[in-house]
Structure formats: structure tokens, C-alpha cells
Subunit: 234 residues, 2 copies
DNA sequence: TGTCTTAAATTGGTTTACCACATTTATCTC
DNA sequence: GAGATAAATGTGGTAAACCAATTTAAGACA
């Protein structure tokens, strides 16, 4: 069984079209935060789709914080202005193709900040978790095994130690995409992995010593190769 | 009708418990990327909940990129390692309470980068959109009206001009939360709004002139008050 | 024994009818 | 006419039956 995601499926296309229609409705009626959407039954009739599809669309928009369904009452516009809402929906609809370059670019800028926060705020417990991730990484690399997962686990441990829940959430959310693309493009060569062990250790020591600037610099070194890759491909 | 979100509803609690059980199952069975989850019917029987609840839980995990459902085949673990998966699920379950401090902290670091990218990559079209947002903001402020939405629209225009889709998505996703908290804590006073006009103009000019460093510095000035607020409250 | 065909079982997705609660409207009492 | 109460309507949520595609297993035939 393949896990291909090359073309979005029919049901996803239907879902997106309904999301688009809901957006058009909100724009047309100039609905503002707190306003009530028509009932699911009315929407399903208006859009000529089953109520289940409407429910799925609403649920997705609810995930993104744009709508709020309240049982036995209705669905309401959340505290988001019209233009921001349109931007987010645009984003939802073109989903699935965040370019790898922007992904890496964003990861790097977040890592450089989170490593500084980690150096500032890390606890002894954080250090232990990092140490474990570091050991697991080294072990895999020295056995010539693929260590992409372990590599990222070390970085996620740093993100957690940064004590910034939002930053941590974002790092977690881009991790799967990073892994997929790394595997696809074979970003990490074997020699890269070997040098990675020392680089990881340097970062770890800087965090341990609570040296923010050193931590950032060592992280920069670690991303040097990735940086070049990121800005060379188009 | 109030839009209170103080306590999560019963159905949400049930949903979270099922998500937790799915996580436990994955851990217990040591399921790896590509492995197949038991069928929805088996899960609903095992967890003693209706199949619909199981479907909702799977859908939510699919939304976060952890699972992938394929019609008439089954539900599969996406390309995410066990530990990263646990981290993300932890994150999903404690949802709804990203502290304001981390939110602001993250927003600032992303803004300081996105404004540099914008200065580097902005098109003439981008400048027009920014100019419009700027005018709308000034108009509201000079009329002594609330201008939080317009303020953020200018910043979102910058994020869009940064040509980094990932960064733009993140900025969009934290925008609703920012607006809510701004309104709740009355972060923006009237005099702050007035000085904001000039600060916005300065940022705009720097982007227009493609001066990355000036853009970042002007943005820093703009966030100075917010910075202090962010680091004073606990 | 091996390969192709075919039918039965399994799967996620969809539809339908029903539910409990909230809101609105109508009715009754004073 | 005002307030309280009850009936009717409308709402999102839920459970069960149904669907089409897939997978699996059995069977027929060489």
C-alpha cells in the first residue's frame, strides 16, 4: 500500500469547495465576529451537498479557530476579522504544498531563537532529555543507520527546553514535513551525519553552560550546510 | 449567546480521551510510520465508544499530519517517529492554553525576520497592499476607533510580502489569539495607537527602500512597548 | 503445484433518522 | 397588560444502516 499524496482526493476537493462557499457567504453577508452562520441544514441545502460535508467543512474551519460551533445553538464567527479570515482560508485551500525552502528557512530562524531561550531557561531535567537524544543519535550514526528521526528529537528537546509553548508547537508541526523532505531529497549524507555528532555536542555544552550566544553560534555552524542547500535550490 | 471557552465541553473531553487511547495503542504496539492502525470498528469496540467518536479522533490526528486515512484500506501512521508523535499529541491535548507571553515572544521573533524578508523580496503589488492597510489603520486611529484588526492587517501584509509561506501560515495562525488577548488585556492604549502610525510608516518606508536592517530596527522600535509588557507580566 | 478467476469479508465514507438541549413562540393566569 | 409557564420549533450532535472500493480467501482449471 502506497501512501501517495500527489493529487488530492475527490472528497478533499469537495470539502475545499464547500469551505470556499462558506467563505464567500461570510464575505457576501459581511458577517463579523460573533455573528451566527446559517444552520448546517440550510447550508447543505444551499450548497446542494449532504449535511455531513458541511459539518466536515465547519469542523476544519473550527480547527483553525475561525468558527465556533455551539450545540443546540449554532455556528458562530470567531474573533477574527474578515481580511485575516480570508487570508487563513486562502492558506487552508492551497494546503499541502508549503515549499521546502520556506520550511527550512523558517525552521532555521526558529531554531536559532529557541536554542537561545533553551540556554537561558533549561532545567536539569531538560539536559537529561537532550543527553538521551544525543546518545541515541550518536549510536545510530556510528552504526551507519539512518538517524533523521534521532536528529530531530534532539532539536525538539531543545525546543521544549526553550519554555516557549508556541515556538515548541510550531517546531513540532513542521517536523513531519521536514522528515519527509529529508528522506525524499537525501539531504543528510553520511559524512554530514558524522560531523553532526560533534556539532550536536557543541550545542549541548553551550546550553548546559547557559551561554546564549555560543549556543546560537554553534547552531549556526550546524545549519551551515543546510543553509547553503536551502538557498541554492529554487 | 456567549462564546465562552472557559471549560472544554464534554464531547471535547471524550474526543481527547480517545486520542489519548489511540496514542497509548500506538506506543504499546510499537507502531511505526507506514504501519496500519486497527479498523475504526475495532477501535470503537475496544474503546467502548461509538464509531463516530473514533472517526473524529482520527480526523483530528490526520489534521496534525500524524495519521493518514485511505478509503477502503485503513488508517496508517504518517512519517512521524514515536517520540515526536507523543510530543505533538501532548500538545494537542493540552490545547487551548498557549500562554500569552510565549505567543507574544514568538510573534516578535517571527515579525523581526519576516520584515527583513519582506524588505528583500517585496513586489510593487505588496507595497500597495501595505499602503492600503496603513491608510485604514491611520483612519481608524485618528477617529479614536479601535484599530487592532487594522494594525494586524498591516503586519500580515508584511508577512505575505516575506514570500515565506510557512512563516506566513504561522503568523496567520496566531493572529486570532493575539487579537483576543489584546482585547482582553487592553494592551494597546490610545496614545500607543497614535505613535503607532509613525512607526508603521517608518517600517513601510524601510521595506520600500529594500533596507533590511532599517526595517528590522524600525520593527524593534514598534515592538518596544510590547516587549516590555511581555517580559513584565508573568 | 501454480495461476487466474471469482466471491465473500473488510474497510473508510456517506446517508438517514433520531436525540437532547436551547431558543422561540404561544398560551394561560393573575 | 405583565409575568410565568408550556408547547413548538430549530439547533448541533449521535447512532445505525447502507455504499462502493479494496482486500483477502477460496476455488477452478491447467
Amino acid at each position: 500500500m502506497k501512501l501517495e499524496m500527489l493529487s488530492i482526493s475527490d472528497n478533499e476537493q469537495l470539502l475545499n469547495s464547500v469551505i470556499n462557499k462558506i467563505r464567500d457567504l461570510i464575505n457576501y453577508k459581511n458577517l463579523e465576529p460573533g455573528d451566527k452562520l446559517p444552520s448546517e441544514r440550510m447550508l447543505s441545502e444551499k450548497f446542494e451537498v449532504s449535511r455531513g460535508v458541511v459539518r466536515n467543512a465547519i469542523q476544519k474551519l473550527e480547527f483553525y479557530g475561525l468558527l465556533k460551533s455551539i450545540p443546540q445553538s449554532g455556528t458562530f464567527i470567531a474573533n477574527v476579522g474578515a481580511i485575516a479570515m480570508n487570508g487563513i482560508i486562502d492558506d487552508i485551500l492551497q494546503l499541502g504544498s508549503p515549499d521546502f525552502k520556506s520550511l527550512v528557512e523558517t525552521r532555521i530562524l526558529m531554531e536559532l531563537k529557541s536554542v537561545k531561550f533553551a540556554a537561558l531557561r533549561r532545567t536539569e531535567e531538560d539536559l537529561k532529555v537532550m543527553q538521551n537524544a544525543l546518545d541515541a543519535y550518536s549510536k545510530k550514526v556510528l552504526n551507519n543507520e539512518d538517524a533523521v528521526q534521532e536528529d530531530l528529537l534532539f532539536h525538539l528537546a531543545i525546543a521544549k527546553a526553550s519554555k516557549n509553548s508556541t515556538l515548541n508547537t510550531f517546531m513540532l508541526s513542521i517536523t513531519p514535513e521536514i522528515i519527509t523532505n529529508f528522506a525524499k531529497y537525501h539531504v543528510c549524507d553520511d559524512d554530514m551525519a558524522l560531523s553532526g555528532i560533534k556539532e550536536h555536542n557543541d550545542i549541548f555544552e553551550a546550553i548546559k553552560n547557559k551561554d546564549q550566544n555560543a549556543a546560537k553560534e554553534k547552531m549556526k555552524v550546524h545549519f551551515k550546510t543546510l543553509y547553503q542547500y536551502c538557498y541554492n535550490i529554487k
